[in-house]
Symmetry: C2
DNA sequence: CTTGACCTTGAAGTGGCTTCAAGGTCTTGA
DNA sequence: TCAAGACCTTGAAGCCACTTCAAGGTCAAG
């Protein structure tokens, strides 16, 4: 199967597939006489696995780790469980960050409930006088 | 004041300040005879405003829009309110996306409550067989 | 007069792609 | 038989908001 067919079966673009190959997520395909990449069902399975991980917002490093664990012949899945737990932790932290953020924004928005002149606008005043250090930095790969 | 002093007063790095200048968020500073950037209190105010906006995860485009509104002499703040409301919408959507995501991940995690052999690990099975199309794409600049 | 803190510019790296440019190959139908 | 158009190739650049690096210039203190 050529790259376009694989792409449509995995619902991603051919460029993404080439990118995954370059990144080492997907093993290099064999080549046809005309130098086109040639894929089998194993590639499709692996690509679907990767796309599912990405749909869950896992970073490439996390996916690489999962793939390596999967390829280890005699391992149990304890490390898989740990990796997923850690990723849930990432998502959870980011949700908490954004919830705090929304709180801040809502408070700011209430400073100016109606249209008024710029120099009395509570939002602009708030943005000018806030203490930026109050919020922490982002800790995860989820934005 | 030189760039380092401005940076420490605004709690950001000198590189960030130079970047904001290049991006047109911060007006270009005057230069000393030795070609060092020289800043006044107006720069500090504007920079603090920008950093506060960034602490609230506003994109540069949003901040640029706010600054332009602020500089408009006779405008009211209705557009400011709208912009903030829209940004709150971004944050809200992202929170909902991540909440869905966490749900998916938790369900996945429950597939494999304990250590077991790889080929029966429910997580890996789930990742291999999920339908990636089930989750939507990211719509905002918040990750 | 040297050390070291500060400043300058420009380029490259981050992540996970997408888009573009400039071609080569293959299939189909006139 | 040959031309159009769909598909493939590579490599580079763009996205965002920075950070880091390299290679130097400037300045105050000891």
């Amino acid at each position: 199967m050529k790259i376009g067919e694989l792409a449509s079966k995995a619902k991603c673009s051919a460029e993404t597939i080439r990118y995954y190959e370059k990144e080492g997520l997907l093993p290099a395909a064999e080549r046809s006489p005309s130098n086109y990449r040639s894929y089998g069902d194993g590639h499709l399975e692996r690509l679907r696995f990767i796309r599912n991980c990405r749909a869950l917002d896992m970073a490439h490093d996390e996916i690489r780790a999962l793939l390596a664990l999967m390829d280890a012949p005699d391992a149990g899945c304890g490390a898989v469980n740990d990796l997923v737990d850690e990723h849930i932790g990432h998502v959870d932290r980011r949700i908490r960050e954004l919830t705090d953020l929304k709180q801040q924004l809502s408070a700011l928005r209430q400073q100016c409930p109606s249209e008024r002149a710029l120099d009395t606008c509570g939002i602009l005043r708030g943005l000018a006088s806030m203490d930026a250090g109050a919020l922490g930095k982002r800790h995860t790969h989820l934005g």
